[in-house]
Amino acid sequence: MKDSLKSSSYDALVIGAGIAGGEAALNLANTGYKVLLVDKELSVGGKMIMLSKVFPTLDCAACITTPKVSEISRHPNITIFTGSEVSNIRKISDNEFVAKVTRKPRYVHVEDCTACQLCEKACPTSVRDQYQFGLIGRKAAFIPFSICSPKAAAIDIDNCTLCGACERVCPTHCIDFTMETETNELHVKTIVVATGFNLFDPNNIPRYGYGKYKNVITAMQMEREIAPTRPFHTILRPGDGKVPDKIAYVLCVGSRDATVGNPICSQICCMYSIKQAQLLMGALPMADVTIYYINIRSFGKGFEEFYQQAKGMGVNFVKGKIGRISEKENGNLILRYEDINKGKLQEAEHDMVILSTGVLPTKGIDGLFENETLTLDQFSFVGQSDMLASPAKTSIGGVFVAGAATGPMDIPDSILSAGAASSEAISYIIQHA
C-alpha cells in the first residue's frame, strides 16, 4: 500500500483507475515508467469491479478484476491515490505538466487498518450504500465493499455525527479525525485521461416510475444483486423481498433518445441486459425474462452467438419501445408498449422491471486543464483529435485518452483503447526526452 505523498514527480499521470486507467498504468509501469494513478473514489477498479459476470465469456467480474487490481496496487512503479482529484493542470513544456492533486481525508490510516469491520458495527449512523447503488444501507464508518482496494475503512464525514464510537472500538487506533485535505504539486511528462462514464439517471424519465415504484430498478442495481458479493443472498425485488418470477428489461433508457438529450447508442446495454437475463435464468430457473428492445446490438466478438444462446435458453425478446410503466397494488408493474411485430399497442404485467440505462460522459474533465484547452466532442466525451489514425490523441499534445472517457465502450474495447493510450504516452515520453 502506497499511502504517502512521497514523490511529486512521475513520468505519467493517469486520471481514473477503472479498467482503462488501470490497464494504461500497468502498460506504462511494465515498460519501466513511474506512474501516479488517481481516482476520486475510495477504491480503484471503476465500474468493472462492481459487476457480476461479464459478457460474453461469463467470467466472474471480481475474479478477473481483483488480480488486475492487486497487480496495480503492488506494482513498484505505480503509486495510487484514491479519494483524490487532480486539477489546475498546466503544460509547461513538451515534457512537463504541472498539476495539483488534492486528497480528501479518509479519516483512517490505511496502512494500519485491518478491515476488521468493528468500526462499522459500532457506528450508529446508517445511510444508503453508494457502492451497492442504494440497494442497502451502510454505516458512516464503512469499508466501501468487500473486494475494494485499498481494503480499509473510511469515514463518510458528511454523514458522521462525530459520536466517536468507531474511534473507541478500533483495535489499531487508525481512525483519526484530525486528518486534513492534502494538496500536492505534481510534475509529470505525460497524462492519460481515463475518467470513464456516468450512468443515465432514470429519474429523468418519470413515466418509467423509477424512484416511485420500488420494483423498478436499474441494471447496475441488478448487477449487484447477481454479483457473487451480492448484498442479499438471493435475487429479490426491493419492494417486498419477494423472489421475482416475471422480469422485464427495458432497453435504451436514456440512449438513442433525443428527448433526453442523448441521441447516441450506449453500445453496452443490449449486451449487459442479455448477460443478466442469462444469469437470472440460471439463478431462478422458473422465472420468465422478457427483454423489450428497439434493435439488439450484439456486434462484437462472440456477441451474436451470446444473443442466440439467450434466445435458446428461453429469454423472450420483444421488439417494442415502452411507453409508460404503472404500478399495481401488489407492487407488480404494467408495461404499456408498442409491439412492433404485432403492430399494435400492448400491455404486459411483470413483477420486476430493470431499466437498462445508458452511458453518459463524465462531466467537467475539460475544466481540469488550465492553460490549454481539452476539446470535447459534440456529446461532451473527451474529443479525439485524429479519431481514425490515432484514436488516443486529444487536442493537447502529451495528453491521451483511454476507455469510456471517449465514448461508450465495453471492457475489451476499453483495454484496447488503454493499450493505445499507453502506447502513445510511452512514445511521447521517449520522443520528448
Binding site: 478477473i64 447516441i264 447508442c265 452467438e305 404485432k342 481514425l388 489514425a389 490515432s390 499507453s422
Partner: protein, 642 residues
C-alpha cells in the same frame, strides 16, 4: 528431504465455488494431513487482502510450499506464484488446484459429489507439493526488434508506434503496395479524410524512419525459434521495374500491355493490365509486373527502359524478438446464386458498390444502365442461421449507411432501400443512422427466418420481404441495383498463421488469450495479433488494437532479456537412443537431433519447450522427464486422487 510445511487455501470464489462445494468440509478433510501446516478458507483467494495474508502466513510460519484451491490455473497460477515469490519462497513450490471449473461448475447438480471431488483434487495438489522443489527460471536474450506482418492500417500504425519506442521494425506486406483494405475506400465514415489519404499519411511517416524496413511483395515462408529470437525467412518477389523509372515511359508501358485480368483492387469490377499500379498516388510509387499473368511479350520493355525482367526473387533471413500479426480480413464472397449473386446482372457486393460510387460522377451507371433504386441486403455471410458464419461483422451496418448516404449526396436521384436484420450502428455511429432516416432512406426489416428474396422477372429485379416494421406486410421493391452487404471473413490464405501455429476461434479469426482482458496476446509467446485479423473492426478499433499489440510486443522485449519457464522436458542421455519419436510428437518443434559426447541423442530447446509433456509418453526407453511432473510426483498425485 526436509519435512514440508504446506499452507492450503480454499477459495469460496464469492460463491462461485462455495455455492456447490462445501469449502469448510474440504478444509477439514485436508487439515489433518501430516505435511499440512495450516488450512484456511477465503472469500476471494486472489483479493489483495488474502494475498497479503498469504505472504504473512508464509513468512511467519516458514511454510515451504503453498496450495491454493480455486479457479482455473489459466486465470491465477501466476497470481499465486507471485505471492509466494513476494514471501521469498521459490515460486515453483506453489501448486494450484482447480476446484471451480473442475468441481463446482462441472457438478453444480451434485453438491456432495462436487465436494468429494474437490477434496481429492486438493489432496492430489498437496501430494504434488510434497515433491515441489525450488527451480530457477531460464534467462533468454531478447532482440529489440519486431516483425510486423501485414501493412494495412493496423500494421502500419504498429510499426510507427514501435519505431517511436526505438525498436527495429521489419514491416512485411505480401501485396506490392501498402495500405490494405483502407486504400480501397475513398470516403469513410466519421471523418472527412479518404482512406487513401490516411494510408498516404501513414506511409509518408513510415519512410522517414530509419529503424523501419519495409518489404512489399514479400511473404514470410519459414519461422524458427521462439520469443526473444524468431528467425524468419522472407521471400521477396521482384517488381521487375527499377525504382528509377520515368513516369511518362511507364504510363506508356501500361498502355501497351496487351494483357487484361480482373482487377482485384476494384473487386473485379474492372480489368487491369499485367503491369499496373492500383491508383495514381499509391505507395510505394514504383508499379509492378504481375508475372503470373504477364505473357513476356516484351511490349512494355520496348517503351520503358526501367522494365527489367532479370530481377530475381530474393530470400532474406531476419531475426526478431517478437512478431506482430496484422494480416486483416477478406470481404465475404457470396455463394453462387446467394441473393442472385453471379446469377443476376445487377447484384454486387458492398465493397464493389463502394468502388463503383467512388469511381463515378454525375450519374450512377452500372453495366450501362442508370441506377435509381438501390436495394441493400444486410448481413450477407454474417449472422447465418444456416452456415458457418454465425457472428455479426460489426462494421457493415455503418459502412452501408455511410455508403448509401455518400451515394445519395453524389447522385441525388437515387432511392435507398435497406433490407436489414436490425441495425447495429452502435455508439456514436447512431447519428449516421438518424441522418439516413432524415434523408428519406427506407428501412425494411426481417428476422433470420424471413430473409428477403431476390427474383428476376423478365427484365426486372425484384426484392421482396415480409417487413416486420409494417406488421409483416409483404413489400417488394424493383431494384436497379442490389447491393449485398457482405461481412468480414478471415483471410482465405492462412499459410502465415500456420507457420506460427496461431490458434483460431470459433469464428476462424485469430484467437486471443483472454477475450476480455488480453485481447491482443496469443498463446504463442511473443506473437501478438492486431486489427481485423482478430475479428471485425473499423479503423479506429484496428488502430487501438495495433497500438495495444505494439505495447505488448515492446514490453516483452524492451528489457533485452526475458525469463522462460523452467518447467521443460529433459533428456536422459544414457537412455536416449534417438529414435526420433519425441521430435515428431512435439507440437512446438522444441526437440532436435544433437550429438553429445559422440552419441546421437535428442536435445530440448528450453526457450521453445512448453513442458506440455507430449514427448514423454512416446519415448520407448523412458528417457524423458518433464520438470516438476516426474513419474514419482504424478504417481503420488494419482494415489491421492483415487
Amino acid at each position: 528431504m526436509k519435512k514440508k510445511k504446506i499452507g492450503v487455501y480454499i477459495c469460496h470464489c464469492g460463491g462461485n465455488i462455495s455455492d456447490y462445494v462445501d469449502v469448510e468440509k474440504v478444509r477439514q478433510a485436508v487439515e489433518g494431513e501430516d505435511i499440512v501446516f495450516l488450512a484456511k478458507t477465503t472469500m476471494f483467494a486472489c483479493s489483495d487482502a488474502n494475498q497479503r495474508e498469504m505472504v504473512n502466513d508464509i513468512e511467519a510460519n516458514g511454510l515451504t510450499s503453498v496450495v491454493v484451491a480455486s479457479c482455473s490455473p489459466k486465470l491465477h497460477l501466476l497470481t499465486f506464484r507471485n505471492v509466494t515469490q513476494r514471501a521469498n519462497l521459490n515460486k515453483y513450490t506453489y501448486v494450484h488446484a482447480n476446484i471451480r471449473e473442475q468441481a463446482s461448475w462441472a457438478h453444480s447438480d451434485n453438491k456432495i459429489g462436487a465436494t468429494e471431488k474437490a477434496i481429492h483434487l486438493v489432496k492430489a495438489a498437496i501430494a504434488k507439493a510434497n515433491y515441489a522443489e525450488a527451480l530457477e527460471t531460464n534467462k533468454v536474450k531478447a532482440l529489440k526488434s519486431v516483425a510486423v506482418i501485414g501493412a494495412g492500417v493496423a500494421g502500419m500504425k504498429a510499426a510507427i508506434s514501435l519505431s517511436n519506442k526505438e525498436c527495429e521494425v521489419v514491416l512485411i506486406e505480401k501485396e506490392p503496395f501498402v495500405g490494405g483494405r483502407v486504400s480501397q475506400w475513398d470516403s469513410l465514415s466519421t471523418t472527412t479524410e479518404t482512406g487513401k489519404e490516411i494510408v498516404n499519411r501513414l506511409y509518408n511517416d513510415l519512410i522517414t524512419r530509419e529503424n523501419i524496413t519495409i518489404c512489399t511483395n514479400s511473404e514470410v515462408i519459414s519461422n524458427k525459434g521462439s520469443v526473444g529470437n524468431f528467425t524468419l525467412k522472407i521471400k521477396k518477389t521482384p517488381r521487375y521495374i527499377s525504382t528509377s523509372f520515368h513516369p511518362e515511359d511507364l504510363k506508356k508501358a501500361i498502355e501497351v500491355c496487351p494483357v487484361e485480368v480482373p482487377d482485384e483492387f476494384n473487386f473485379r469490377l474492372t480489368p487491369r493490365k499485367a503491369i499496373y499500379k492500383n491508383y495514381p498516388g499509391e505507395y510505394p510509387q514504383t508499379p509492378v509486373i504481375d508475372l503470373k499473368n504477364c505473357t513476356r511479350c516484351g511490349a512494355c520493355e520496348k517503351v520503358c527502359p526501367a522494365v527489367n525482367f532479370s530481377e530475381e526473387e530474393d530470400i532474406i533471413e531476419i531475426s526478431v524478438g517478437s512478431v506482430l500479426m496484422a494480416t486483416g480480413f477478406d470481404p465475404y464472397t457470396p455463394a453462387y446464386g446467394e441473393f442472385g449473386y453471379a446469377t443476376s446482372e445487377n447484384v454486387i457486393t458492398l465493397p464493389q458498390f463502394k468502388r463503383l460510387i467512388d469511381e463515378q460522377s454525375d450519374t450512377l451507371v452500372y453495366k450501362g444502365k442508370a441506377i435509381q433504386n438501390i436495394a441493400y441486403i444486410y448481413c450477407v455471410g454474417s449472422r447465418q442461421a444456416k452456415g458457418d458464419n454465425t457472428y455479426c461483422s460489426r462494421n457493415c451496418c455503418t459502412s452501408t449507411i455511410h455508403a448509401a448516404l455518400t451515394a445519395k449526396n453524389k447522385f441525388p436521384d437515387i432511392n435507398n432501400f435497406h433490407f436489414n436484420r436490425g441495425l447495429r450502428t452502435y455508439g456514436k455511429q447512431e447519428i449516421l443512422y438518424a441522418d439516413s432516416l432524415r434523408s428519406g432512406d427506407i428501412y425494411l426489416q426481417s428476422y433470420e427466418d424471413g430473409l428477403p428474396t431476390v427474383t428476376i422477372e423478365g427484365k426486372k429485379t425484384i426484392v421482396k420481404i415480409n417487413d416486420i416494421l409494417t406488421n409483416g406486410k409483404e413489400i417488394e421493391v424493383e431494384a436497379d441495383l442490389v447491393v449485398l452487404v457482405t461481412g468480414m471473413v478471415p483471410r482465405a490464405d492462412n499459410k502465415v498463421g500456420t507457420l506460427f501455429k496461431l490458434p483460431k476461434g470459433r469464428d476462424k479469426f485469430y484467437n486471443e488469450i483472454h477475450m476480455k482482458l488480453r485481447p491482443v496476446e496469443t498463446v504463442i509467446d511473443g506473437v501478438t495479433i492486431a486489427g481485423a485479423c482478430q475479428g471485425p473492426k473499423n479503423i479506429a478499433e484496428s488502430v487501438n488494437s495495433a497500438l495495444s499489440a505494439a505495447t505488448k510486443s515492446y514490453s516483452i522485449i524492451s528489457k533485452g532479456e526475458l525469463e522462460s519457464e523452467p518447467l521443460v522436458a529433459t533428456i536422459d542421455p544414457d537412455r536416449c537412443t534417438w529414435c526420433g519419436a519425441c521430435e515428431a510428437a512435439c507440437p512446438f518443434d522444441a526437440i532436435m537431433k544433437s550429438e553429445k559426447e559422440g552419441k546421437i541423442i535428442a536435445a530440448i530447446n528450453n526457450a521453445v519447450c512448453k513442458g506440455c509433456g507430449m514427448c514423454a509418453p512416446v519415448c520407448e526407453p523412458d528417457a524423458i522427464n518433464v520438470t516438476a511432473c516426474s513419474s514419482t510426483e504424478i504417481m503420488s498425485m494419482i494415489d491421492a486422487l483415487v
